[in-house]
């Protein structure tokens, strides 16, 4: 029973991981940027929801559209006016720029909100679904459901709409897309905005579960990076599966083995997948390689 409980709570954790990782994956897949400011964007979402909650008492779940919207605008503008400049530069240049961006954002957060640790605890935090000796807190179920819901929405958008198709076209082959009259710069800004918006939503979800301070973002970037590589760049299903697998593995190690090895697990899994299947679990040919050049 303990094992089942631990596995289920790992699955729920995987939902949040998936939301974070997919936002990272969209940006990477479409613009080719490994966004080292990803964690900072998640934190902006978290702080925004926390701030609204402190100001008005609003439930963080209700602020998801707002934090996603805020980050969409920030992301769109950043890509359009800053990151677009290095889109054809070497990988190292893009890393340097997003690394610097990360520092700027973290320091803005430090100025605005100080280094004190924050968290939002709603009165219903202890309410849980109890079935046959299992106990799943509603907050976690909600986070899982919202995270997967957002991912599904993103999937629909990408496959059913014209601009979604344009984004996919640019991801697969920017030159061919351009010959078809797609404005690649606008599309990249749109994709970055969507990715950032999803990061903002993930930040709000994170704030509903964990504590955070301006310096805690980098671990999210790391985790997202590992999950995207595990699942395969460009594969939404792969990312979700990898996120859930990682969540369950981490939980099993912490709950039944040695919690100290928790982080080692994700990196061992990454190492194994890179050796055995460099494209990741579900990695296709396109997205990764279009950008590998």
């Amino acid at each position: 029973m303990l094992t089942l409980q631990i596995v289920l709570s790992g699955v729920l954790l995987g939902g949040l991981y998936a939301c974070m990782a997919i936002s990272f994956s969209v940006i990477w897949g479409v613009t080719g940027l490994v966004n080292l400011a990803h964690g900072a964007m998640i934190l902006i979402g978290a702080y925004f929801s926390w701030w609204l909650h402190v100001l008005t008492g609003i439930d963080p779940f209700l602020t998801i559209p707002l934090s996603a919207g805020l980050l969409f605008v920030i992301g769109y503008l950043l890509q359009r006016y800053l990151l677009e400049r290095v889109i054809r530069a070497s990988l190292i240049m893009t890393l340097v720029l997003t690394f610097g961006l990360n520092m700027v954002l973290v320091n803005i957060l430090l100025q605005l909100f100080s280094a004190d640790v924050r968290a939002v605890t709603m009165p219903y935090a202890s309410a849980a679904l109890e079935v046959g000796g299992l106990r799943l807190p509603w907050t976690r179920i909600a986070v899982f459901a919202v995270a997967l819901g957002l991912t599904a929405l993103l999937h629909l958008y990408m496959s059913r709409t014209r601009s979604g198709n344009a984004i996919r076209a640019v991801a697969q082959n920017p030159r061919a897309a351009a010959t078809l009259g797609i404005d690649a710069r606008r599309v990249r800004a749109l994709a970055f905005g969507i990715g950032a918006g999803l990061a903002g939503a993930a930040g709000t979800l994170m704030a509903a579960l964990y504590s955070f301070s301006p310096i805690t973002g980098d671990s999210f970037t790391m985790k997202s990076f590992v999950i995207v590589l595990l699942g395969g760049l460009g594969s939404m299903v792969g990312t979700i599966v990898a996120a859930v697998v990682l969540g369950v593995c981490e939980n099993l190690v912490s709950g039944l083995g040695a919690p100290g090895l928790r982080d080692a697990v994700s990196f061992l899994m990454l190492l194994a997948i890179l050796l055995a299947r460099p494209r990741g679990l579900f990695g296709g040919r396109h997205a990764g390689e279009a950008r590998a050049r």
Partner: protein, 417 residues
């Protein structure tokens, strides 16, 4: 008309004011010279300290200086320290280590070699004290530190290092005592700590203390720094059915731990964290779920201690300190003041300023300060003063242990969360 008159009067007035200003400046310079001329007649004891007055830990570093200065002002007001029948003025030579251990080492070398200081006071933080005390040990000069709780600072067999604060391996002792004295006893104890030096030392000690008190340690695990989610650990812990949880780590981790024990409804009777509940953000982050959580603290103004040198109670000290700092003082200043009082007693007892004799007298220290009693073990740690324990009650930390200083009754078992 009136305005014009006023305007024309202005230059004359400001000239006059300038003359006054110069005169006042000359007078005040002369006045400033007077006491120091006087001081040259009176022998002086000079202590040396490099403090973190700028940089990462400067907030704490400045508080240390407040504690040192409070003592210097008071003792000089009372005629100074008597050595060989003659009262000596007290002075402290300060430097700023910029919160950096390497700089601190350089500055202590400078204090000893260039400024000729023989009696050293400690810097701020375990890490910097660790480095700086190696310098004083090398020159075989005493250092009375006030701000290094990590046990590795004292585990090097140093003979010249002493510290007024309660060391980290005593942090949990009183919480374990409370667990074993509670009724019904908190028999089954779970221990969780971050995989970092300080929390590990505290929680390892808790395990020893719990076993010595006849309690059962049913769960003990470390988690890596940066862990965000404790759900799995808490499930595993819950399955062992603990009565008490004692944990140590970063404040953010403790917030999540407290919340998740509530999410998973672990029926705990008491929760104690080595750090967190009294820090800003903890109560705000957890709301009612922070209620009744315990934290050991070095000192509060509620403590029943009365200084044997100046006659200050802890409360009186707190109000003096508040005047000086401009806000409520935490344990940093009294812990610093105590370091100088320890020195004073040792110098008086040795009746000498010879660092060797002072060192031997320091080892025999047994005094009461507003910060609490001070007595050193062979490693130089203060073993006389335990940690007080505060409990969050209605969102405010109140002392509940030891009972003599307690402002409120220990709420046990804690309210259901």
């Amino acid at each position: 008309m009136f305005l014009a008159e006023k305007a024309s009067a202005c230059p004359a007035r400001s000239r006059r004011r300038a003359v006054f200003g110069v005169a006042a400046a000359i007078l005040s310079t002369a006045a400033a010279w007077l006491p120091s001329a006087h001081a040259q007649q009176q022998p002086t004891i000079t202590f040396g300290a490099a403090l973190s007055l700028t940089g990462r830990v400067s907030t704490e570093g400045r508080q240390v200086k407040v504690g040192y200065d409070l003592y210097v002002e008071e003792i000089n007001k009372r005629g100074g320290i008597k050595v060989g029948g003659k009262p000596h003025r007290v002075e402290i030579k300060y430097y700023d280590d910029q919160s950096d251990a390497a700089t601190s080492v350089r500055l202590y070398e400078k204090l000893i070699n260039e400024d000729g200081v023989k009696l050293l006071l400690g810097p701020y933080s375990s890490g910097i004290t660790f480095a700086a005390s190696a310098v004083t040990e090398k020159y075989q000069l005493p250092m009375v530190a006030a701000h290094a709780a990590a046990s590795n600072v004292y585990a090097r067999g140093f003979k010249h290092l002493f510290a007024t604060l309660t060391p980290v391996d005593q942090y949990t002792a009183n919480m374990i005592r409370m667990a074993s004295q509670a009724s019904p006893k908190a028999q089954r104890v779970a221990l969780i700590h971050e995989n970092a030096l300080f929390p590990q030392a505290a929680i390892d000690a808790a395990e020893r203390q719990a076993k010595a008190a006849g309690l059962e340690v049913v769960y003990k695990e470390a988690y890596p720094t940066g862990t965000k989610d404790f759900a799995a650990m808490i499930e595993a812990m819950k399955a062992r059915n603990p009565d008490a949880l004692i944990a140590g780590g970063y404040t953010g981790d403790m917030i999540v731990l407290a919340r998740q024990t509530s999410e998973q409804k672990v029926p705990l009777k008491m929760i104690g964290f080595t750090l967190g509940p009294t820090l800003p953000g903890f109560v705000e982050a957890l709301g009612p779920r922070a209620e009744n959580i315990l934290e050991p603290v070095q000192w509060t103004s509620d403590m029943p201690w009365k200084d044997e040198i100046f006659g200050w109670t802890a409360a009186e000290y707190a109000s003096l300190c508040r005047e000086r700092l401009g806000r409520e003082c935490d344990y940093h200043p009294p812990q610093s003041t105590a370091a100088l009082q320890v020195y004073q007693r040792a110098i008086e007892r040795a009746d000498s300023l010879d660092p060797k004799k002072v060192r031997d007298a320091l080892a025999q220290t047994n005094i009461m300060t507003a910060y609490g009693p001070v007595r050193f073990n062979e490693m130089g740690q203060n073993i006389a003063k335990g940690m007080s324990v505060v409990q969050l009650q209605n969102g405010k930390p109140v002392v509940v242990f030891p009972v003599e200083g307690a402002k409120a009754r220990f709420v046990y078992p804690m309210t259901a969360r």
